[in-house]
Symmetry: C2
Subunit: 355 residues, 2 copies
Amino acid sequence: MYRNLRIVPYLIFGRGSYAQLGDVLRPRRMGSPVVFLVDDVHEKKPFVSKLPKEKEDILLFVSADVEPKTKVVDELTGRVRSLSSHQPAAVVGIGGGSIMDIAKAVSLMLTNPGSSADYQGWDLIKHPAVYHVGLPTLAGTGAEVSRTAILTGPVRKLGINSDYTPFDQIILDPDLLAGAPADQRFYTAMDSYIHGAEALRGTFINEYSRAYAEKSMELCREVFLGDLNEDLEDEKLMIASYFGGLSIAYSQVGVCHALGYGLSYVLGARHGIGNCVIFNHLEEYYPEEVREFRDMVAKHHIPLPREMTKGLEAHQMSEMIRVALSLDPLWQNALGPDWKKVMTPEKAKELYFRM
Amino acid sequence: MYRNLRIVPYLIFGRGSYAQLGDVLRPRRMGSPVVFLVDDVHEKKPFVSKLPKEKEDILLFVSADVEPKTKVVDELTGRVRSLSSHQPAAVVGIGGGSIMDIAKAVSLMLTNPGSSADYQGWDLIKHPAVYHVGLPTLAGTGAEVSRTAILTGPVRKLGINSDYTPFDQIILDPDLLAGAPADQRFYTAMDSYIHGAEALRGTFINEYSRAYAEKSMELCREVFLGDLNEDLEDEKLMIASYFGGLSIAYSQVGVCHALGYGLSYVLGARHGIGNCVIFNHLEEYYPEEVREFRDMVAKHHIPLPREMTKGLEAHQMSEMIRVALSLDPLWQNALGPDWKKVMTPEKAKELYFRM
């Protein structure tokens, strides 16, 4: 049985394509409000003043300082309900991977009862989401194409995975990537490089995923080891993110993401930087890729935090290992069906202590 | 204004995935028949005996000996209507690019009145199609992902281009590619190589199309200049076709396809072989790509017909030129807005006479 891959059915790509958001929303409105969820780092940006916002619409600025939480999704959903007696016509997310995932989750929770924590897992969603549109302002996570909305809940960090999760429309405007801090831009972009590496070295790989993974990594290489102008770099990073996302959508991530989930669950480390810190210590699993990654880090003088796990209490380390090792599909992909013989809690602890 | 690209929203890829067709159709049936349109070269193939066909279903074998015609689409639509009092639940196309396009067109004509010739053009379709599924048995045309159904009508060869045209679901099973004659397999695969070349050398190119075009060509290179086993080749060709199709879906084809439309309109030449014959004479426009194409032709001892236009009557040549030069977007992509100054009827004639 092969997965029936759900793919975002409408895509606009191009510099300045943000201006088409109004046209995209118009036929959906029918008198109901549109909810805009925008990363609060953009609050004063000129593009926000050009949002195609009508008077009944709801604009909420959302912090992405920490990884998205089920609690935040539930609060936002509650706020939207309290601000509008009508079911919204659309939810629009504008931001990095966190805001993409929050927008997907809110669009699902507007039509599904209970808490978003109830739906962390696979195919637990019962009702189609409100129509939702994603406009990424950071490139790399692939959240704009994924069928998950990764949330930290009371018990675990795990996505809401369903066919209703992906956006109905994405608008990939490289102009929206301008102005991101260089470090953050790099950390996020490396997410797509790592997606490629984990897909290609994984046991779940197929020729569909391989083609996307190889091209995604090649685009990262062109951007971070080549000599392009920044405009062209941003365009290529946007496609690298999309390709990396599609690659893992039809295969699976691996060691770095599994350990990364544990790290963010306990330390709240952001996904991009956390993955970079971890990947740097995974030569054992991704030898050539880690070498190339270090070349990119060096060329761009990117600081990588050290000793992140130093001074952790024993119960925190156990929790980190518990979360990481609970991600069976990721380990199966990385190490095969007998992964538990290889990735013991002791081995995971040893890896974490390197960081 | 950028195009809002409609993408096939569900995809299954994998060897043996044909067996999942029944599962895909089940929730759609609701007591209405499924129409299977199958290339008649497959009539005796074992996979046809495993079609998930129920008693109310309609199975029609369709010839792809000539390029698809509006007349054939209209006849098939009439036959389906006469065989079933219910609107079908689904149309399933199984075959090469011609059958893909015929299945897309029949699914549209079951819900739109008149003749399919009335809809040759851009966005003339008014009503959504019957749910339709594509299973390609030749790789290269990209018809499994395109937003067109290319038909030869009474006046022109031109596609039914609309957001309702693309399949709702595709199943990419490399097993279905087995057994195609080597020449035909090559000619069809080269369609995706040529898509890549025309996208990359065109003026409409963007980084989305570029990434797909480059990877599609690279996959063709691996298959036809590398040393893989045939199973892996077929898997890669299936992805090359999909990527090449997406590349031109967000840019445009060029000189080879424009001249090819004229050639098939007048001589009924099949798309794949026609494109190969033409591309071989287009060093002027695609210098490196034509050289690499010739390497692939030579390595695989592929016969290319010669003197196809020899002995043509003057009115046939005029007609060929008229059809080719009517394709304004293709020439704009290939040669820029002032293309008419470059690609005069005399120049087109000179190119045709080389073939």
